[in-house]
Symmetry: D2
């Protein structure tokens, strides 16, 4: 744990997860300073900056990027703006951390990758699950050969219920672009020896059946076939009444690892109703330590210029599966990744 | 627990599972007597009969069926003979318990159902998982509304490794007909409000990649879509190095139930290597109590004439999914159940 | 699994546990027949015999013992009669299974041991916990050296609540004679290399504080020191609102084993309240397989003349700790086992 | 999460746990600055200060206390110096966090309490277990009435093996003063409605039997009786080969809570050896978040003047049980707390 001057970080996008990241930078990372926040919503950046003691607040992204003190930016805008902000930040010479999805098309992904490469700035993407203790240990066990050759994988995301979103305002294909993108990255990352070749996806509105057939999906199952024969299933649902349920399973010729538990702690209650545990109800509670470690990694990348976490390439790879899933659902057929 | 004269049971097929069923009838069921065993292999029936104290041994099924003392038969022949033996037993007026798969075609399934209906004899099929304590409790919770409307299901079968079978002698599509048939029944049984409409299956030889492309499959993933939108995934593999792993998961609008644990007991060892549990290594060890309860149910059906366990119809329903899976793998596409 | 003529068993005492044992002999053991039942309560033996199909019912123990068909007896009378019935049964030449406690004084214990030795009949005592799968595996691990030298032990019994007993009718020291006697045997059995030397006990009426100071105890903690320095804690309570909780823990120089789980099965419910499991609520449900195996062992002992389960000596050893505990509570001091 | 000027903290004692606390202040707490370190060992304070970027290093405690910038001190010297440093720090007007045990005699404890009261400075003691998520949730459940009236409690500390200490250099009664003091505080804190009245303790050298009888103890069991009849058992051992094992259990009229799990994460490996989990091997890994929260609480106490964590009084209460345990072992008898 070397002893450096703190790195100056700017936040772009002061929404829910942006605010949480800002708090991590300001209060959970010893070697980073939150020096500026930008958000177009009147007062949003200012209010958050005041709360966290950040010296500058902007309503314009460009203004923030023009601030020469800032060494790295955390991009947490709505997804549709991610790529253009990445490109602009790269041009401004800032190290870039971008929330997932980094892009909505492969062309966008390529632009983001090219812009950061041209500017020689680090680009890291918000696949925070890789820093969760259990998932990290799972990958370590796989690398150590403990499951042998990977044959079957599973990754799931179930958001805590009751579902409070507005289907009418939810962008098309959100479940693939924003939710399952985590599982796609997780599955690729846990199966490092293989490349995905084929995707079959099913999606439906089961939480909000009143929106079925209107382009809204709250439930999906995606099957991915890899070039070495291994098969992965990714699964998502927007309303788990028991909490925020994130799990992974990797089975191979030598054994299996499982990762993830919705139980909140080892505290167990035994009473008239039986044996019970409380559960995680929010992503930022469940994964607070993983989120912090992710940003610590980005701070380190900003300092050293070298990304050790998920890169733009990783974001592109996960996006390709999301796009194949969308095509599979649209055309009701299995889709080759080479056709995306 | 009423006090009756024992029911007279005959066993047809003295292989591994037949011998185990015979032992259950002879030694684990108080209200059944094992009175005869038939097996064409020279000496097989005789040897088992001697060990279990069964009075009669035959090399001919017909001879056994001609024995008027026998009230019910347990059929544990190779799968390809199941239907014809069911039909013959029904004609002989015996109550019929048939190991899965009861039939290999829908026509055969219909013949078995018709023959037992015509003879007015009970027909029960060997989906033993329904009697496992955990799966039984899971279904009870679903019936009680504890998971709400079912949305996502999973059922898996992993046979204990190392795999010692002979791929060259394994009948085509065994993984669907003999292994996943359990999962198909489990999924239908745990989703009682829905009907399956569409199946997509992937199968491969990952345990024995030297047999890939030669009609042998040891790994499969099947996705089933139901008429109410719910989606199930069934998964099988022939070689789990950690034991006999049977699990189920049902997720719905109100919550989730999970069933199955490969850990053998609550005995937990903490030592230099960490925390560990021994595992189940054989189906007949893991599910001895479920297997026994299954036959107790058949004995009761023999006595009363009423089947409360899985019927010929249930066998046909699970078979239809197996056939759709086979078609899906053969034609590399999603298959409607109405096309099977 | 040899194929013998069934052994003829008689039951003495048709109360709750006696009826359960009778049912085990009649319906869960293939190589034993329940041939007679004796109970002084008018109609009790007759009714149970009718239900289980036992040919004979008596109101007199002596009459049952005079029945020459009977090879072994299961004694499940109130505890204060145990020793005299053991002695009488031995004199009648019957193999003896006696529920715990076999005796209430060391003199009685010696009489029971001497009488069965003189008659050369097997004497087995009802410490059923030894046959529970988890406890059995725990002992096996200890024997295999997996915990090294034993240093610390724990055994506990918590009866399921709500407590429905009548403190006014409960014999003095029941918690030691009838409840903790199981834990004392378990601790001695799990620490085979050591001898107990010293006991300190605390007992109180916490479930029914209205009976405190009136000779009734529903809660107790007993510390036992062994000659090799190892220390055991036994703990009992009459009212666990969450079920029938039986656990053991053995810690040593190489590691630890834990045994016992009040969860009823692997079926786990995840709902709005969190994660939960149902629990065991009755001894005869929780330990049905252990109780059956215990009697199977006694049936084998009756046939072969050799006891492999807990003996009269084991009953005496556990009783000595119960007596030391009683003395410790009475005199409010640590008691040497040599002073009992 | 208010936005304040950081609080200036000084560390006294740069040993293992002191260094860890310093690191927590410097790198894990956003609202505290580590401004000075004192340690008499030549170079120790300097080296740590350099590593953590603390501006000042001293070999004299008095010099550090004379630094007017410092608002609060973290005392992590050897235990025998704790009280005198607390008193000196209080006189210097510093807020005081003192590692356990705050004192080795009741007189010392009273001096520490009196000195900090006279100086009107906060005094908080290092019972970090109270901040562990599971223990915290357990206490919350107890306060919410979920276990009803507390009847039986257990708390244990097992340090990870192999034991690498030097018995010859270990101060007398370390297992009570330094190890079990945690469990004594935990038990008092989890039983808030009761006062301890009586203690019986056993201690031995089982890990290092070559030191038995020479004043060294590595294994101890302490039974505590409370004024409401509830009974607690505390247990410690210096060598758990499977890791750092800290657990608690509270049983009452309504149910039970259990807290603590040596498993390191939910990552579970299933392989040829069965099912296994890695374990916590170090206190500072297992409880890093609790340790941090503890110091965050002290920083807040320094700022506000109000201690919400364990106080000098709490330290005195736990110490009284340690002293009673020592007397109990010395005199081989049960000891009243009123006699300590």
């Amino acid at each position: 744990m070397p002893n450096h001057r703190p790195v100056n970080i700017g936040l772009i996008g002061a929404g829910r997860i942006g605010s949480f990241h800002a708090e991590s930078v300001a209060r959970r990372l010893f070697d980073a300073d939150l020096v500026a926040i930008a958000d177009p919503a009147p007062g949003a950046a200012e209010k958050l900056a005041a709360r966290l003691g950040a010296p500058k607040a902007y309503t314009s992204v460009s203004e923030l990027l023009a601030n020469p003190e800032i060494e790295g930016v955390v991009i947490a805008t709505p997804a549709r703006f991610h790529t253009s902000v990445v490109v602009e930040a790269a041009k401004a010479g800032k190290a870039v951390f971008c929330e997932k999805p980094m892009a909505l098309t492969l062309e966008e992904a390529d632009q983001a990758i090219a812009a950061t490469a041209a500017a020689k700035v680090p680009l890291q993407v918000g696949f925070n699950r890789r820093w969760d203790q259990a998932f990290h240990e799972g990958r370590t066990a796989i690398d150590a050969g403990k499951v042998g050759s990977v044959q079957l994988l599973r990754s799931l995301t179930r958001d805590p219920g009751p579902y409070g979103g507005d289907p009418a305002k939810t962008p098309l294909w959100t479940i693939f672009y924003e939710t399952l993108i985590h599982d796609f990255d997780t599955l690729l990352w846990l199966n490092p020896a293989a490349k995905p070749v084929e995707v079959t996806a099913i999606a439906d509105a089961l939480v909000r059946p009143d929106f079925a057939g209107r382009g809204f999906h709250d439930t999906a199952v995606v099957t991915i076939r890899f070039d070495n024969g291994s098969i992965a299933v990714a699964e998502a649902n927007f309303c788990a009444m028991y909490g925020y349920d994130i799990r992974g399973e990797v089975f191979g010729s030598g054994g299996m690892v499982t990762m993830g538990d919705v139980r909140r702690s080892s505290m167990t209650l035994y009473d008239n109703n039986g044996v019970s545990n409380d559960t995680w109800r929010r992503d930022t509670d469940h994964f607070v330590h993983g989120y912090t470690a992710q940003l610590a990694s980005f701070v380190e990348a900003t300092r050293t210029g070298t990304v050790t976490g998920p890169t733009g390439k990783d974001a592109r790879n996960a996006l390709a599966i999301a796009l194949a899933s969308i095509k599979s659902v649209s055309e009701r057929r299995t889709v080759q990744l080479s056709d995306v």
